[in-house]
């Protein structure tokens, strides 16, 4: 196996993910619509109820719509990571995962290629959302959209790896509803995506602590800081280390020696 083989295999995997994405136009529109509903509808109501103080990285008072943009970007990536997980469960049910796992390439590479392809799709969705948000007059620094790219890649890797671990645990598509209830919603609502942690602390110290420990909060903060040209080292460290742990978990969960014990083929 040489570098050309790896490159062609990566192109094949990425191309297939792209084709599947293009074949599922409703997936793209729902990925765009979901954050837009939050931005245009919910944010209008929340703005009246939620007072925001000046917190880093902001240097002045901001509107609630501006505050939640990084959270909604994170939400797009979170849902995309879970969508990739759903797609892997579908692949396992339909057998196409077997084809991937019986190719003469290391499993870590196959999973990484699938992961990167999913990240690329999520980044495309993020920029489509950002474009629509700008059209709606939301104040987003245009240069900040470029600055968030490394954060988007890292967040995508973390959330995609989490999706892979979940995919390895799920036997049927029907079980995916549990992921919505027990993974996506807690990760999203117990984070700094919709409200600052200090605001959460006013309601409950414990909930605020959970928010602080939630890696998704740090994914959002990484985007928030990068959007304003700032760097959040703590968030970077947490998102990076969580990505590594989730990815190693994904490689381990697709290891043949583990999968037969679980009574699964692919």
């Amino acid at each position: 196996m040489n570098a050309t083989h790896y490159f062609r295999a990566f192109s094949g995997i990425a191309g297939r993910e792209l084709l599947r994405f293009l074949n599922q136009r409703e997936r793209f529109f729902s990925a765009l619509l979901r954050p837009m509903v939050w931005l245009v509808v919910f944010a209008a109501g929340f703005r009246a109820a939620l007072g925001l103080s000046i917190i880093p990285p902001y240097q002045t008072y901001i509107t609630y719509e501006v505050y939640i943009v990084p959270g909604l970007v994170g939400m797009i990536q979170l849902f995309n990571g879970m969508q990739s997980s759903l797609s892997m469960v579908y692949d396992q049910e339909m057998g196409s995962m077997r084809v991937l796992l019986t190719t003469p390439l290391p499993r870590w590479f196959l999973l990484l290629a699938k992961l990167l392809a999913g990240v690329a799709v999520s980044i495309f969705q993020v920029y489509a959302f950002a474009g629509v948000a700008l059209l709606f007059g939301i104040d987003i620094p245009p240069w900040g959209l470029l600055a968030i790219l490394p954060a988007l890649i890292l967040n995508g890797l973390m959330l995609g790896s989490l999706g892979m671990v979940l995919a390895s645990l799920l036997r049927q598509l029907e079980n995916f509803a549990g992921v919505m209830n027990f993974v996506i919603f807690p990760m999203f609502f117990l984070s700094s995506a919709l409200y600052p942690v200090w605001k959460m602390r006013e309601a409950s110290v414990w909930l605020a602590r959970i928010c602080e420990w939630n890696p998704f909060s740090h994914a959002v903060e990484l985007i928030r800081f990068a959007l304003y040209g700032q760097f959040n080292l703590l968030s970077l460290a947490i998102v990076f280390s969580t990505s590594v742990v989730f990815f190693l978990g994904a490689v381990w969960s697709f290891n043949p020696a583990r999968r037969f014990r679980a009574g699964r083929t692919a």
Binding site: N2, R8, A9, S96, R98, P256, F260
Partner: protein
Amino acid sequence: MEALRDSNHRPPLSVAGLTFNYGPRRALDDVAFDVRGRETVILLGPNGAGKTTLFSLISGLFAPHAGSISICGKTLSKAGASALDPLGIVFQAQTLDLDLTVRQNLRYFCALHGMSRAAADRRIGEELTRLKMADRIDEKIRALNGGHRRRVEIARAVAHNPKILLLDEPTVGLDVPTRRELIADLHARAADSGVALLWATHLIDEVAETDKVIVLHKGKVARIGTPADLRAATGTPNLDAAFAALTAGEAA
């Protein structure tokens, strides 16, 4: 001559002492056999004999508890996934992406095997023509019937010119004429291209008189030989009766 010596010393597939358990249940017990170049080896066993488990081990989806698998001289447990390169696999269950076209499915597979786009398109064209599917190349898999989907799976399995083709009950669910065509095509491939076939089935009529037959029963190799050897060993007049005798009447 060199190639012949190499093929004699390194069979495309060599399985030794293969043992595998599902929890406390032993699915394969000390299974050993070789598949040589141009050979068609029929893995004959009733449902639950361990055929699919054996294929999952050979294709690296499972890891064995004991024993070794060697593909063209490379031991799977030591060489890892790279040992799978000479394998072409037709799985028992359908494994095509229903929402992609025939061409997209085949190109994807060729890319996974490191083939260039030009080489992939050439091989895809050759195989689809051989399997009388060239005119369906841009149709989505979802639009194809079971027989056509199976042909696409065979085209996919051979697109990278494998040295050994694993076929896990490839004719299940097909009508009689399609079955006949596929059986004839697969036998012809072994003769034409030198690819070795390991073909799991429980259907006796898929066995040709020249094939090597491995009778697998309750996870163990009950007998290896040509149909004539099996008849002679069991003192039976035909392969059906020989198979029934070797599997204690459990033949399908």
